[in-house]
Point group: C2
DNA sequence: CGATCAATTGACATCAGTCAAACGCAGTGG
DNA sequence: CCACTGCGTTTGACTGATGTCAATTGATCG
């Protein structure tokens, strides 16, 4: 599907403000995703330590930047765009294990090689940390470790939900679950129940690989939902959820 | 399938040796699973702190001891037997998200309620830690936090593998993957390639719920493997792997 | 306008699920 | 000792949801 060249970064070393003392200062201080990311455990006073360790990298759409099985040299924090994480079988079958939105931390594999691949869906910006810098940060900021554990636990919960979806839900239930999940990402938790417009960054193929279905089944299912008045399929990647409640019933297996 | 009574423990407060100073001593020091569990990061000198916090609990076969959605009051460390972890849909469909063998740490969910249920397969022994005690331990032993992060990362990798299995593998590939995984649990990593006898603690139903299949399909697939000379199905829960290499080819999708 | 690529739709095939029967084994009680 | 029961497993016949293959539509971009 994608050519997946071996990990090539289009890194552009970030221009960093220098403070009076010559120390790097507030490159991270102005980061818009910090409140939602693991970085939020670093105090204002220590923020320059973070900026020092991070290298901002821009990744164009479709470019792979983590190769499954390659040596795990870096950690990443997504600051813009959406990344797909996946595993593949030798014959090309692919399972997307998750989508990483801004704030998401990547690279939690403990082993010395990545257990999954990663590819930019749209234009992605990440903060890259070398393994060494990351180790230093972990040693100096115990809070960071606790925060990463929290992050990992949340991912585990998401993974368990996905296993339930992949192992036991029907195609309609899977698509409904997916749409609701996507809604919860963009929306504040208190959804008002009214129509909700989504702008999905990923293709039908990505959705299929995420839900363990084929492109055709995803397309047919969306068409069926449209025929039922549950959603509206706009042009491009827009989908409007017309009846969140009915999708909810479907997603939880009571359709 | 199981009646799952609300969490009832058959706790028997562990008899603990008292040292000269009146402090509890080496209940954990003699623990056979400590080398493989998160507890191995606590130094000998501090081992009594661990013993102080742990309550050993015996759980009979079939008894549920974590209920999905219930308040997450305790953490567990499995010391004997096998536990199944699962999520369920309202209509009873069930996905087993993993099996916890001795050494496995349970309860990593950060939220205040359990994201999964847990039930003993055979007679299970666990060390139970209250949330408060666990927090104390984490505060006092930073190494423990790092170790838990490692554990969580490993579980994430396993979860990603399982997503690939559930989303993209055929029934034969799933069963082959499962048998090989089970072999690797019991065996030291250097499998000699010769026949390998497994004694699975779980029923066909559990295997089916783990692999996202039905009992019938699991049974048929095992019969097919037997007809191919790949395995031997003994009475009870014994299965002998006759050709690990052919199972390997199957499991990785080149069957 | 033609080329390309993603998405949709249709016709058909198939893998795994469903329903049902039979088997094997263990435990119980006559 | 044997009949009876319960439960998990195996096997068979059939069904159906989803995959496969293929044609069409629609959007984007030179």
């Amino acid at each position: 599907m994608s050519d997946m060249p071996s990990c090539q970064f289009e890194s552009r070393p970030r221009r960093i403000m220098m403070g009076p003392s010559g120390l790097q200062t507030d490159f991270c201080a102005t980061c818009t995703v910090r409140p939602n990311s693991v970085c939020n455990v670093i105090d204002e006073g220590d923020i320059s330590r973070l900026a020092e360790a991070a290298v901002e990298t821009i990744i164009p759409p479709g470019r792979g930047f983590i190769e499954e099985g390659a040596p795990a040299t870096d950690f990443f924090n997504v600051t813009a765009g959406t990344v797909k994480l996946f595993k593949a079988l030798p014959d090309g079958r692919r399972q997307i294990t998750g989508f990483a939105a801004p704030g998401h931390f990547l690279g939690l594999a403990v082993s010395d090689s990545y257990a999954f691949g990663a590819e930019a869906i749209d234009t992605v910006r990440v903060c890259r940390f070398s393994r060494e810098k990351m180790t230093e940060l972990l040693d100096d900021f115990p809070k960071l470790e606790r925060r990463l554990l929290e992050e990992a636990s949340n991912e585990l919960v998401a993974a368990q939900n996905q296993m339930l979806l992949l192992g036991r839900k029907t195609a309609r239930e899977r698509v409904a679950s997916f749409l609701l999940d996507q809604m919860r990402i963009g929306q504040p938790p208190a959804g008002n129940g009214g129509p909700c417009r989504l702008n999905l960054p990923m293709t039908r193929g990505d959705i299929a690989d995420y839900l363990g279905l084929t492109i055709e089944t995803v397309s047919r299912t969306l068409s069926w939902m449209r025929s039922q008045g549950m959603i509206e399929v706009g042009k491009g990647y827009a989908i409007t959820l017309l009846s969140v409640s009915r999708l909810d019933v479907l997603a939880s297996g009571n359709g």
